[in-house]
C-alpha cells in the first residue's frame, strides 16, 4: 500500500511546464500511476497518457474503479494493436501500431496536445517498458524531442521509470528533467 499523501505532496508544488521523472519499483508502479492521475485530474488538468504497458480498456476500467474522471483523460495506446486486442472506438483514445513506432507516437502526442483545451499534462508509462522495445540511442532522442516540445509549450510532463532502468539511459533522461521524485513507500 503506497502513501498517497506523501506522493501528492511531492506533486503539489510542481510549476506548469516542468518535466518530472518519477522513479518507483515494479511493485508500486501501478498504484503510483493511479495516484498521479487522480491528483492531476482533480487539479483540473487533462491527462494525455502514453501507455506502453496497458491497453486502453484496462486503463479506463482502472481509472473508473479509482474514482478518476475519465473525461479528463486521453490515452495513446501503444499496446492493443500490436497484441491484436479489441480496438474500441472512442473519442479519448488513439491506437498506435507498436511501442517502437516512435514517429507515430510523436505525431500522435502533438495532435492530441492540439485537441485539448486548458491545462494538460503528458504522462508516460513507462520509459522502462518503452526501452524494451526500442534501441536506447533512438529512444533517448525521442524522449529529448518530446521533452523539448513540452517545454516550448509549457506543458507538464510526468515520466515513470522503474528503479532498475539502465544507468546510462537513466542519466541521459534524468539530466533533462526539472525534478526527480524517487518514490519509496
Amino acid at each position: 500500500m503506497i502513501d498517497a499523501k506523501k506522493l501528492e505532496n511531492e506533486l503539489n508544488n510542481i510549476p506548469d511546464g516542468w518535466i518530472v521523472l518519477l522513479e518507483t519499483s515494479v511493485e508500486n508502479v501501478l498504484e503510483v500511476s493511479l495516484v498521479v492521475m487522480k491528483f492531476m485530474s482533480n487539479n483540473n488538468y487533462t491527462g494525455i497518457v502514453l501507455s506502453a504497458s496497458r491497453p486502453y480498456q484496462n486503463l479506463i476500467k482502472l481509472y473508473k474503479q479509482n474514482g478518476i474522471d475519465t473525461e479528463k483523460i486521453f490515452i495513446i495506446d501503444c499496446v492493443s494493436e500490436s497484441y491484436g486486442g479489441n480496438l474500441e472506438e472512442s473519442n479519448n483514445v488513439q491506437y498506435i501500431e507498436s511501442v517502437s513506432a516512435l514517429t507515430s507516437i510523436s505525431i500522435s502526442i502533438d495532435k492530441v496536445i492540439g485537441l485539448i483545451r486548458g491545462g494538460k499534462f503528458l504522462f508516460i508509462d513507462s520509459i522502462t517498458t518503452m526501452l524494451i522495445h526500442n534501441e536506447p540511442g533512438v529512444f533517448v532522442r525521442f524522449i529529448h524531442s518530446v521533452m523539448t516540445r513540452l517545454r516550448t509549450r509549457e506543458i507538464t510532463g510526468i515520466i515513470v521509470s522503474l528503479s532498475e532502468t539502465d544507468r546510462e539511459i537513466r542519466a541521459e533522461i534524468m539530466q533533462l528533467c526539472d525534478r526527480i521524485i524517487n518514490y519509496k513507500p
Binding site: 511546464g17 540511442g137 533517448v140 532522442r141 529529448h144 524531442s145 518530446v146 521533452m147 523539448t148 516540445r149 517545454r151 516550448t152 544507468r167 546510462e168 537513466r170 542519466a171 541521459e172 534524468m174 539530466q175 533533462l176 526539472d178 526527480i180
Partner: protein, 189 residues
C-alpha cells in the same frame, strides 16, 4: 550549492587567465548546478555564451530570470529547439541552430557571438556534451569539443565549461575530453 561556488572560486583563483573545465555533476541535481555555475560567473562580471542542447532558449531564459541571473550578460545558442524539430521565437540574444545541427554551423554561431561579449572575462558554457553525441557521430562531437579547447588555448575566449552527468563520465569520448581539459571538478550530491 556552497560546494559549487567553492569549487569554481578555486578554479578562478588557480587559473586566473584561462581554463577549460569539465564538471561532473550529480545527475539528480544537474540543472540546479548549471544555474549555480552560470550565476557564479555572471556575478563575477563575466559574460558568456550558453550553448544549450537540453532546453529551448525560452525555457532557459525564464528559469534564469527566476534565479535572478542577469541575462543581459549572456548570449544563447539554442540547439535543443532544432533537435526537437521545433522553431523558436526570434531574439537578439539567441541564435537558433538549424535542424541539421551541423557542427560547422555551431562553430560559426560561436564566432558570430564572441565579439559581442564585453565582460572582464568571457566564457562558453555547454550544458551537456553527451547530448550532442546522441544525435551526431562521435567524430563530430569530438571535433566540436576539440574546437572549444583550441579557442581557449588561442586566447579567443578565456573559459570553457563542459558539463557531464556523473553517470556518463565513463563514456570513452568523455574520458578523452577529460584528458585534455585543465581541470575536472566533481560536484558532490
Amino acid at each position: 550549492m556552497v560546494n559549487v561556488k567553492k569549487l569554481l572560486r578555486d578554479i578562478v583563483e588557480k587559473y586566473p587567465s584561462s581554463a577549460v573545465v569539465m564538471m561532473e555533476l550529480p545527475t539528480e541535481s544537474y540543472f540546479d548546478v548549471n544555474i549555480a555555475t552560470v550565476k557564479f560567473l555572471i556575478d563575477r562580471e563575466f559574460e558568456g555564451i550558453y550553448i544549450s542542447f537540453h532546453r529551448p532558449f525560452k525555457n532557459i531564459l525564464s528559469l534564469f530570470e527566476q534565479h535572478r541571473i542577469d541575462t543581459n550578460k549572456l548570449f544563447f545558442i539554442d540547439t535543443a529547439t532544432a533537435l526537437s524539430k521545433g522553431t523558436g521565437e526570434e531574439n537578439p540574444r539567441c541564435i537558433y541552430i538549424s535542424k541539421s545541427v551541423d557542427i560547422d554551423e555551431l562553430i560559426g554561431a560561436i564566432y558570430i557571438t564572441l565579439p559581442k561579449l564585453k565582460g572582464r572575462g568571457r566564457f562558453i558554457f555547454i550544458d551537456s556534451i553527451t547530448t550532442i553525441a546522441i544525435y551526431k557521430p562521435l567524430s563530430e562531437s569530438m571535433r566540436f569539443s576539440e574546437f572549444l579547447i583550441r579557442i581557449v588555448r588561442k586566447n579567443e575566449v578565456e573559459n570553457v565549461i563542459f558539463n557531464v552527468a556523473r553517470d556518463l563520465v565513463q563514456k570513452k569520448f568523455i574520458r578523452d575530453i577529460a584528458l585534455r581539459v585543465d581541470k575536472v571538478i566533481s560536484v558532490a550530491e
